[in-house]
Symmetry: C2
Subunit: 243 residues, 2 copies
């Protein structure tokens, strides 16, 4: 009997019809899988229903892995694969394993000689970068920044410095939605006037806003950001001062 595979299954990132944001290959593959590892079982059930999974949702094997998957459960979660069935890691939003739990499970799968197959779908990070005009030839994603001062200021300025040292590397990060405005204020407060700052909100959603401006432009034209998932970025350049 041949082994199953571990699929990485993305889900849409905004409130919209999944069948127009997921490729047919992703949808069809997901409909053929009966074992899912989900950060949150409830939203995974809703997603699978919306996807038109042919089986009654209650008959699917959906394991909740949470934010910090329990290492001791991974072998159990991967067990169906040894019996020839496929298993899919499904994200809460976007691509599993990217700014999201799932990597430890994949790591174990590689050790066990299980084939891991990524499916195509939306990633807010990648879409933000594509539409940012910042450098996509060299970039870094560093998750969340510290919340407290002075660590936050230090980290923003460290990222600016790293971007500069690497000759204009793009630095991407995210923030909890209710702190979006505080983040943009801090960036405009602490960054150099010529640094480019990206704000990418509600990507693929009805209120999509993707804008890159210099610190000084943001200072002159402040915006209020909605409390929805937002990707931030910065790119520092050797002061061709434009002020």
């Amino acid at each position: 009997m041949s082994k199953g595979s571990l699929y990485m299954l993305p889900v849409p990132i905004a409130e919209n019809a999944l069948e127009i944001y997921l490729p047919r290959k992703t949808i069809e593959k997901a409909r053929g899988i009966n074992n899912f590892l989900a950060e949150n079982a409830k939203t995974a059930r809703a997603f699978l229903k919306q996807l038109g999974h042919p089986k009654p949702i209650r008959e699917l094997n959906i394991e909740e892995i949470g934010h910090q998957p329990d290492e001791t459960q991974i072998d159990h979660w991967l067990a169906p694969i040894e019996k020839g069935e496929d298993v899919a890691v499904v994200s809460e939003s976007g691509c599993p394993g990217i700014a999201d739990p799932g990597a430890q499970i994949v790591r174990r799968a590689h050790r066990k000689g299980i084939r891991v197959i990524p499916l195509v779908g939306p990633s807010s990070l990648l879409l933000a970068l594509m539409a940012s005009g910042l450098d996509g030839q060299k970039f870094r994603f560093c998750g969340y920044l510290p919340i407290k001062e002075p660590e936050r200021k230090d980290e923003i300025q460290r990222l600016e410095e790293l971007s500069l040292i690497a000759n204009g590397e793009t630095e991407l990060f995210i923030e909890t939605p209710y702190r979006n405005n505080a983040m943009l204020e801090d960036l405009t407060k602490y960054c150099k006037p010529t640094t480019s700052i990206l704000v990418a909100s509600d990507i693929t959603g009805p209120n999509e806003l993707i804008q890159t401006r210099t610190t000084s432009e943001w200072r002159h034209n402040p915006v209020r950001l909605p409390k929805i998932p937002t990707v931030f970025g910065l790119l520092a350049t050797k002061s061709k001062v434009r002020d």
Copy 2:
């Protein structure tokens, strides 16, 4: 008259049917656009034909932007947008603006107050990372490594060091396909035995190979890589020696 928008249009990354790897939204949007900025006009024409663009391909306005788009042409390329038409930047493979030209054009669009809209599609970098088991909470992409020694060895060891300093940041990079085997050999030669090395070849293609192993595992089980686009990665950990 309202302005048009600038779309970022991805294309499939392997030789396969685009309608199963691109979401419906991406396909439908692309079919409604008549102005394209392409790295290579010939492959863009082939792609638009395969996509089932409703207009005769020769009637489409396809501008070739090349590898290093000419800054002085950007205003001309964006001109249809001022007349209310949409323009799309189309990649050779994968997502435009990511490890690909396009960012300068987007940057100019932001300056001109043009809306930039990214469309969902495959990215070999992102798919490689999703299926790697390496850390997707903090990662960096740094393009191509130097070809000549000692710069190459120095850069590989610098990346290992950066990964370690950042507590296990994933470092991703690419190589020209005919040098894939040389790259894997150099990684196994210069990295520490416990460092994890990712090889991701022909993603979404018929010979997809995505594997993460430690340096020492690769040394004991060397593979021959095909001459097809491959993403490499590494992640260094504080020597929990497994040898």
